[in-house]
């Protein structure tokens, strides 16, 4: 139980994690992240890496859609830009992976700015349609610019190397994915402690009065697009290092819908929401698959019969959570925390 928090000064009040308990949990989580590869098998690490890549991209979309209120269905295509950039640089130049990822993010950010240009005039579904159009164009470029992208058969690329060591297995690539994910999450959280993040939220809530406060709408909408697609580009780059085969079909429109679902299920406009949503969307299908796998020794046809059921259960779970808690998993988490903070005095 913890009742209230006494702050010594304003700087302490502005801190990201404002209690010692929170800081303690944070340190524990960091230790766990470093210990993980030594404690689990490749499959678990594989899943963790996949979850983290999706967290980066989902957080990017959350900045744009959840915090700035601009709906986009281009996130997967922006990931594609990042993935192809990394692959092309790794194959042709062999430059260090950090540089490649940075350029992947920046390239995607530039594309994002261009795609975001209509956002000054159109909003909501209309903007979503504009981003779908951009996705289709990008897909066309991936599939037809054969000299660069390898056309429909795509590219296969060498692994990243760190101090001369090639990172091939999931528990090796993990050492790229994990620190970058952590860094980018801190970046996103920090953003909302400054004028830039506040301006985004103001634009989402009512963009007309945002202007009267001196917020230049176009500049900040484009900035939000740039940051969001930077995250997608880096996520795509990580994806490329993880799978090392990239084809135009690697980043379908369905994947953009997946990210949108992740922020809705997790909680729009909440960094924690993006993390929870991406984890939920990645893990639940896997867990359902495992459950079906457990059945198969007893019931040999389980996989064939249960596969469609799995999809239905996944869909039903999403709908259930949306009805149960429209503000997403992050809100459920906050309620649980509140309960334990005040327990046993108040529930």
């Amino acid at each position: 139980m913890r009742i209230g928090t006494a702050k010594e000064n304003y700087t302490a009040d502005e801190a990201l994690f404002d209690t010692n308990i929170q800081r303690g949990w944070m340190i524990a989580l960091m230790i766990a992240l470093f210990a993980l590869p030594f404690m689990t098998g490749q499959y678990a690490i594989y899943l963790v890496c996949l979850v983290m890549i999706n967290i980066v991209s989902t957080t990017g979309l959350n900045i744009l859609t959840g915090f700035t209120g601009l709906v986009s269905l281009g996130q997967a295509a922006f990931m594609g830009v990042g993935a192809y950039t990394v692959a092309i640089m790794e194959i042709n130049l062999g430059t260090p992976f950090l540089l490649n990822l940075l350029i992947a993010g920046s390239g995607a950010a530039l594309v994002g700015i261009v795609v975001g240009l209509p956002s000054l005039r159109v909003k909501g579904l209309y903007l979503a349609i504009a981003t779908i159009a951009a996705s289709v164009i990008l897909h066309f470029i991936f599939a037809n610019w054969t000299s660069m992208t390898g056309g429909v058969s795509g590219l296969s690329m060498p692994p990243a190397s760190l101090f001369g060591l090639e990172l091939v297995q999931p528990d090796q690539v993990y050492w790229i994915i994990m620190p970058i994910t952590v860094l980018m999450l801190f970046g996103a959280a920090n953003l909302f402690r400054t004028r830039i993040g506040r301006a985004f939220i103001a634009i989402r809530d009512r963009d007309i009065s945002a202007e009267v406060l001196g917020i230049r709408l176009l500049r900040f909408k484009l900035l939000s697009f740039a940051i969001s697609s930077f995250y997608a580009g880096v996520a795509g780059g990580l994806w490329a290092y993880f799978f090392r085969v990239i084809t135009p079909e690697s980043f379908p429109l369905l994947m953009s819908i997946f990210f949108l679902a992740a922020i809705i299920v997790g909680g729009m406009g909440s960094i924690l929401g993006g993390i929870l949503g991406a984890t939920f969307m990645t893990m639940v299908p896997e867990i359902l698959k495992m459950m079906v796998g457990v059945l198969s020794p007893i019931w040999p046809d389980a996989v064939a019969v249960m596969s469609p059921v799995r999809v239905v259960v996944f869909g039903a779970l999403i709908i259930f959570f949306l009805i149960f808690e429209p503000d997403g998993l992050a809100e459920i988490w906050r309620n649980i925390r509140r309960f334990f903070h005040l327990w046993p005095f108040k529930t």
Binding site: G187, L191, R206, E211, V212, G214
Partner: protein, 286 residues
Amino acid sequence: MQTTEVSSLTTSPPPTLAGQEILSVDGLSLSFGGVKALQHVSFSVEEGSVTSVIGPNGAGKTSLFNSISGFYTPSEGNVNFLGKNVNKIAPPDRAAMGMARTFQNIALFKGMTVLDNIKLGRHAHLKTNILEALFYFGPAQRTEAALRREIEEKIIDFLEIDHIRNSSVGALSYGLQKRVELARALAMQPKILLLDEPVAGMNREETEDMARFILDVKEEWGVTVLMVEHDMGLVMDISDHVVCLNFGQVITQGLPDEVQGHPDVISAYLGSGDVTALRKKFKEGR
């Protein structure tokens, strides 16, 4: 030609507030389809004064504010601020020049706390760039800490809203929301404050508090105030200059007492002209 000269003579500000002119509108006209919301509206606001715009519902007061802050583009006329014609300057840049406003139908950001709403006011004066923001190092951290201290010590204290600083604005009473909106406008370091009906919907006590705040803003902060208000008691008590609009036209302007007793003002408010009832209303408001 001659008539313009005469009218500009009669409407020149009284000698008591012979300060500098900080804002003026000059021949402003605006229409929506067939509705002439503003017709050749001219007046000026002296630096350091409280100027009020009054007029019945639909007179064009909010339209006037929207033209001054740059939302509406008038079909004719000029808006001058700090000696500069700002017709071509976009709303965010007018804000950065020192023009702050509040809205008739409160425009706070419901998804943010009171403190974040107030911090937003400073947006145009902060310089934190994207890299500093993502890493939250040195400059970003110092900027936020200094901003927080200033808001706490100057604005939150002054407006007596300490107890709600971390509340979400959606949960606040109407009166408090109006106060937070004023706080946000003050955080903009304004040179002029445009208040659209600052006490509408407030009870007597809240109205008196707000009147005190407006006077303090003028006297202690040295900020010029231009306000639209229906509460005649408040207008007559704290204004240095009053402009009365009706059907988009200035029907008279001058000292509060002059405007209050003006027959055109009385008939504008009453339509048919039950003068004694209006006199009573003015007195009660006081």
